[in-house]
Amino acid sequence: MADAVYTTPEHAQLRDTVARFLAEEVEPHGAAWEAQGFVPRAVIRALGRLGLLGITYPPEYGGAGADALTAVVFQEALARSTFGGFVITVLVHTDMASPHLAHAGSRPQLDRYLRRVIAGELVTAVAVTEPDAGSDVASIRTRARRDGDGWVLDGAKMFITNGVHGDLYFVAARTDAESRGARGISMFVVEKGTPGLRVGRALDKQGWRSSDTAELVFESCRIPAANLLGEENRGFYAIMRNFQTERIALAAMAVGHCQTALALTLDWVANRRAFGATLFDKQAIRQRLALLDAKVQAARAFLYHCAWLVTQERECVREVSALKALTGELANEVLYACQQFHGGMGYMRESAIERLVRDARVLAIGGGATEVMLEEVAKRLRT
């Protein structure tokens, strides 16, 4: 696939580094991580040593100081892996959780955590979703009550990626008991091992099996006043801002998986024979693959366009929401067809395509479900 106009020679080098890391450090070991339910911390730290966990963060903390396009190159390259659980473990850390710290952290908070976050020594998680509040973020009920020189958190969080083995949690809680809805929500940093925070259970998922996902329980969990992240009662807006970063990363993940799935499938149909020819010789099959490839290329161009809008600091909620909806659905369309063309082997646990099918499903659900994304687009269609 030809490169987008935005990409530079450095992007190509970054892709090469990531591809080598996948080939040597991920693909041979991913099956064991799927079985144990999490990615070993040493792998995260190895990515940290390559400078890949702080792409857009300031060099003074060990970041690369690069732009949103470079981040997308990394996300897409990482998502060429056939282990979605590995990919999401990393991307939640780099593009969904740690941005809360990098964007809103005070000087002392940055000094305390950011360097180790970028080095991969502290793995981060973001805890917004609750058992009774997912798409509707403004309806969360976890409470943070001011008490002397600290805050006391009570409530529960659901579906938290890196929640079982994470070191640092960015938690959304209601700080103004009077207000309802978007106002009155704040973000907090909670360190692993803080009394009153426990993992309710590790959740068993259809896909992303090498990613650990937790239900978290906060019971009179006391944290210092200094752990308020950003402005009190303005957390909802910080969450919405970070959702843009998160959704682009998820879109890059979808596009990366689509490319890998198509490559695996092209290989398969070129070698598999039926009725006197290869499956690729059947026009019904190769034309379907050609159209899917066209859709993936179009989605990829849109992905890079959205990242470019971010580098230009343009308002792009409509575009990013549309991108998230489009790519979440496209990943499922592509994987469904790729599995189909693998025949029975595509249904077997030993094939990468079978795993990618399960991994793709959540891309239309997590981090902004398709319907919710389309509402964001629809609201902006008629202005």
Binding site: A2, P9, E10, Q13, D16, T17, R20, A64
Partner: protein, 249 residues
């Protein structure tokens, strides 16, 4: 002490190479290109020599089209200090490259020219040897271990049936083999730093070298398609087939 590392941009080793329909060469349009893997090992070794305090500067040079700059940048990201591009769209054969490199050696004055033992595109395995001959320098090819000390090079070479160790004076041409080292990962901070390192472009004319090919390519063709195998019931049947059908024993 300066180390010069010549590097070549080749079709990436993962690419399935296709012969052009008209038989004049192989398809390079829209094909991923990378640094010749043996050259990457040479760059790694040079950077290690610098890190060990043996070398003071690592200069990389590539001869070819403008896009070779990207390959040079990769070498800079591994840790080379400076890059030179001898830019030309002409077809370059090993002798022409060796002549260009001789001119670069005269300009730069390195004590070691460290090359890959061959390039994976044409597999010629000639440039290092030709360069040594043109310069009148000693050569140590197929290095699997390199030791530089007291103005001497001690190089372990992989030869048929074992390892051979040769000692030479400096300056020397060394070509490296696969097992010399494992090149490091190129980290993102080093990719960013490489952008700012100096890269100078020269033309063959300025070096006074005539690069015109001395060999003509008549035709390039695909290797014959592999035929499907057969299963034999036991060793005796295999020996029989090898002797009477394949006639190889």
């Amino acid at each position: 002490m300066k180390v010069l590392v010549p590097i070549k941009r080749v079709i990436d080793y993962n690419v399935k190479v296709r012969v052009k329909a008209d038989g004049t060469g192989v398809e390079t349009a829209n094909v991923k290109m990378s640094m010749n893997p043996f050259d990457e090992i040479a760059v790694e070794e040079a950077v290690r020599l610098k890190e060990a305090g043996v070398a003071t500067e690592v200069v990389v040079v590539s001869c070819g089209v403008a896009a070779c700059q990207e390959t040079l940048r990769t070498a800079l990201a591994i840790g080379a200090d400076r890059a030179l591009l001898v830019e030309t769209d002409a077809e370059l054969q090993p002798l022409a490259v060796a002549k260009l490199l001789k001119a670069i050696v005269a300009k730069e004055g390195p004590q070691i020219a460290l090359l890959g033992k061959q390039a994976i595109d044409d597999d010629a395995n000639q440039t290092g040897q030709m360069l040594a001959a043109l310069l009148g320098w000693p050569q140590a090819t197929f290095a699997s271990k390199v030791k530089i000390a007291d103005g001497k090079a001690e190089v372990t070479r992989e030869v048929d049936g074992g390892l051979e160790t040769v000692a030479t004076k400096l300056p020397v041409v060394i070509t490296v083999d696969l097992r010399l080292n494992e090149p490091r990962y190129v980290t993102l901070p080093n990719i960013m730093k490489a952008k700012k390192k100096p890269l100078e472009t020269l033309k063959p004319d300025a070096l006074g070298v005539d690069v015109a090919p001395r060999l003509a390519t008549l035709k390039v063709a695909e290797p014959p398609k592999r035929k499907g195998g057969v299963k034999v019931p036991d060793a005796a049947a295999l020996v029989d087939k090898l002797r009477n059908e394949a006639k190889v024993i």
